[in-house]
Symmetry: C2
Subunit: 154 residues, 2 copies
DNA sequence: CTTGCACCTTGGAATGATTATCACTAGCTT
DNA sequence: AAGCTAGTGATAATCATTCCAAGGTGCAAG
C-alpha cells in the first residue's frame, strides 16, 4: 500500500510522465511537485506565481504547456466553471472519478468522490427521450452552494 | 394556455423585460426576437452576425450587454463548456430546470429536461461526507457523448 | 562518456472573448 | 413637451490562452 508521505503523489506522477515517454525537465519536476498534492484546483496563474520565487526564469507558457501535457496524458483534469469575469481554467491532480462542489461565496472548489462517471440507467433513459440517438459517454456534475465557512458568515 | 405561435416566447420575454423596469429599445427587441425561440445555445457572436444584416449599426457590445441583462434578470442562462481554444459563452433562453448534453463530435448542445435542479437526498448525503458543512443549492449536469449524427459517422 | 536530435523552454507577440469607458441618444415619467 | 436616466455605439482595455522563432537540453544509442 501507499505510505501517504508528502511528495509521494508527485513521484508517482513523475514516474508516469517518464513512462509516457515525456522528458523530465527541471521545470516539469517543479510544477509536478507543487501541483500533485494540491487539492485547491489552482489556475495556471496560481502555480506560476508560486513557482516564480524559486524559478524566476520560468515562462508562463511552460506552466500552461506542462499542465496541458499532464491533462493529455491523463494525469490531471481541467475544470472550467461558468463565471462572469476572468474565468481561468483550474487544474485538478485528482484522477479518480469525482464531481465538484463550488462555493458561490468564496469560489472554492471541492472534490466530491463518485463511484463512476458513467450515467445511471435512469439518466440514459431520460436522455433517450430528450435527445434521441445521443450516445452518452460520461456525466459531469457541479454542485452549487455555500461552503461551511461562507454559510456561517451569511 | 399558450398558443405556441412563433414569437410568443419573445413577446413574453419582452413583457418580462418591461416588468423588470428595463427599457425596450429597438436593439433589445431585435435580440430578444431572434434569441427567445432559439434552442441552439448561440454565442454572442452568432447572434451578432445574424442581426448585422438587418441592423448594421448594432454594436457587438450591445449584444453582450443585452444578453447579460437578460441573464441577470433571470430570463436567460449562460452555458460555459470546457474547451481548449476560443471558448465563447453560450446563451440559453430556456429558463425551465434542465441539464445539457454536449456532443464531443460537433459541439452541439442539447437541453435535457429535469424536474428539478435540487440535489437528491442521496447526493446531499454524499456531499455531507465529502464536504462537511457544504450547503448545496443546486446541481448542474453535463452529459458528454455523441449526438445521433456524429455517432453514425464514426 | 560523447553525441544527436527530438522535444523543451523562453519571451514576447498574436488571438479571442469579454468588459470598461464615455460621449451621445432615446425611452419613459411628469 | 422636457428632463432624467439608462441604453447604445465605437473603441480601447483586459484577461486567458496560444503561437512562434530561437536557443537549450534530456536521454537513448553508440
Amino acid at each position: 500500500m501507499t505510505t501517504g508521505g508528502p511528495g509521494e503523489r508527485a513521484d508517482e506522477m513523475l514516474r508516469d510522465l517518464r513512462r509516457a515517454g515525456l522528458k523530465l525537465t527541471p521545470q516539469r519536476i517543479a510544477i509536478v511537485r507543487l501541483f500533485a498534492g494540491d487539492p485547491s484546483h489552482p489556475t495556471a496563474q496560481d502555480l506560476f506565481e508560486r513557482l516564480r520565487p524559486a524559478f524566476p526564469s520560468m515562462s508562463f507558457a511552460t506552466v500552461y504547456n506542462t499542465l496541458d501535457t499532464l491533462a493529455r496524458a491523463g494525469m490531471a483534469g481541467i475544470v472550467r466553471l461558468p463565471g462572469k469575469r476572468g474565468d481561468a481554467a483550474r487544474f485538478d491532480p485528482n484522477t479518480a472519478a469525482h464531481h465538484h462542489a463550488v462555493c458561490d461565496g468564496c469560489g472554492a472548489v471541492l472534490d466530491i468522490a463518485a463511484g463512476t462517471l458513467s450515467p445511471t440507467p435512469g439518466a440514459v433513459k431520460k436522455l433517450g427521450r430528450a435527445a434521441p440517438g445521443f450516445a452518452v459517454h460520461s456525466v459531469e456534475r457541479i454542485y452549487r452552494g455555500l461552503c461551511a465557512g461562507c454559510a456561517r458568515g451569511r
